[in-house]
Symmetry: C2
Subunit: 327 residues, 2 copies
């Protein structure tokens, strides 16, 4: 088991493209536990944080920062658009911030944020950065070292294709020189997790089947090759968009801000948004997501992630949608 954990650390470091000396491991919980591990270990009461909110998960990060006592400034962006780096620049130009949080791939809106630019701006102003890569790891280029991000976290089930239940995380060197007083969570305490993953000191009883599955999923990712995997996701996203445009359908985010893993399709005028989702599930065995928050009723969210990103799935979905939209 210890050898498997070492192998997972090495594979995650490569998959995150983590910098030399980073601590890459998997939190024993879902992606939200990964998010809370990042926030719990980087936030101190009274710290000034800027939360870039481009959707549901950016908002969740802002909520967690508040819970951990940060003084939070929100940069609220219209749902369906990426954050213009000038917005972050403006937010930091005044009193500055100690920490900036952002979501690489916003699952709720299908939007890709310009994380590299955002991290560069944050770092230039002396702020640490937390990047949510839940819906991008294994799908879009994730480059923790190139971004110079302090923490990047993800989940086991989306782009990686393992069952949910583990949250891959990478902490850059220097982020884990923590003072004991500030650390509230025991379960998510980075020092205790390092003691466990690296020094084999008991902390919790890791879930063996989830660990075996994650190791295998990471091996599959590396067999395909990261670049080839990104290209497969990009190609299938484009194929879906082409097929949808023949039905007169388009996605919400503008070109250049679109996820390859999650396609936020605008519901056409007069279509029965919920009825079509229900029919897809009941009659065709295809589950797509509804819009959240301000996008409820306005978009369908179509996932093409990991082993689900195939031409066959696109053909199945589009032919079903065609029948339902033009009966």
């Amino acid at each position: 088991m210890m050898a498997i954990l070492d192998d997972i650390r090495a594979r995650l470091a490569r998959t995150f493209r983590a910098p030399e000396g980073a601590f890459s491991f998997a939190v024993s919980g879902t992606g939200t536990a990964g998010m809370e591990t990042a926030v719990a270990n980087l936030t101190r009461p009274g710290m000034r944080a800027v939360a870039i909110v481009t959707g549901y998960f950016g908002d969740r990060l802002a909520q967690m920062l508040v819970r951990y006592g940060a003084d939070v400034t929100r940069v609220d962006v219209e749902w369906g658009r990426a954050c213009d780096p000038a917005r972050l620049e403006a937010a930091l130009s005044g009193s500055g911030a100690d920490l900036v949080t952002m979501v690489h791939a916003e699952t709720s809106t299908g939007v890709l944020n310009p994380v590299e630019d955002l991290c560069r701006i944050a770092r230039a102003r002396g702020a640490q950065t937390i990047v949510d890569a839940v819906t991008s790891l294994g799908v879009h280029p994730v480059d923790a070292a190139g971004w110079n991000a302090d923490v990047v976290y993800s989940c086991s089930q989306k782009g990686l294709g393992a069952p949910s239940g583990l949250a891959p995380v990478t902490f850059a060197p220097g982020t884990f020189r923590l003072k004991a007083e500030g650390r509230r969570s025991f379960y998510l305490d980075l020092q205790l997790l390092r003691d466990y993953w690296i020094d084999r000191k008991y902390h919790h009883t890791i879930s063996a089947p989830l660990i075996y599955a994650l190791q295998e999923a990471l091996a599959v990712v590396e067999e395909e090759g990261l670049e080839a995997r990104w290209e497969r996701h990009r190609r299938n996203h484009r194929a879906l968009l082409d097929a949808l445009s023949a039905l007169g359908l388009d996605v919400l985010p503008p070109p250049g801000e679109r996820l390859w893993s999650l396609n936020a399709v605008k519901v056409p005028q007069g279509a029965d948004e919920a009825g079509i989702r229900k029919a897809l599930l009941q009659d065709y065995g295809i589950e797509i997501g509804a819009g959240l928050g301000p996008l409820a009723g306005k978009i369908w969210r179509i996932g093409l992630m990991g082993s689900g990103s195939t031409q066959e799935n696109i053909t199945r979905l589009v032919s079903a949608l065609e029948k339902l939209l033009r009966p």
Copy 2:
């Protein structure tokens, strides 16, 4: 999946013997996440807590209380002995307490604590109670309603026999009328977890394979019957003790304070404690635990839990031990 979660709630309520109206569910993490869910949702900064420390896990509870801002009084008991209820009575007789934590089955010492008496004393003094049943659920009689405990938590892998990764928990009615300000953890927030498990409001992506396994493990427990399962563990514990006594070996806790699931065997004078554990693992494929903390080098910890509590396992272990102790 929602029907499975409902079934798990009902089965856990019966397995914990939870009172009417309790919220019984599984936290998406290991037993330590269950512990932290109890502490995070019942503790407020400045609250007065009494932590009964009869071993490693009682100490972990005390550490968590401190992290969540409680003013903690420890009742430290000699490792290898249960807590005398008079010790708790004395600790509460002065300034009282808002919360008392205790471990039903101390995995580190093999000791069973008199939880019913301890909970009665705490309640009489107006204190809430958290009971760790990690190594007792499905093994020893656990009776959340009869104890009148506020929170009881466990794990999925020990007495229940599923893989690790989920933490069954039961909160008594009234414990979950929480004020928002005090709730620091988002991942372990009881209100959000109730919204998810009961009202189907998204909170996190639960691990499907762990949920399937827990449901099946709970079905196996109920097929055997709780009382029959307790009796099997009691009978096999007695059989192990009889076999060990023929080798001149005895357990550390006195009669009446001994776990059926975890046997803390005193290492005899002159025996090579670590060498014998290593030989058991390498030559016989049997893993037993070492002593922790003040008991390091002094005890072996022999687990007989869930499907592992069998006469066959006892025979295998004792015959191997006999060869190693009397070569």
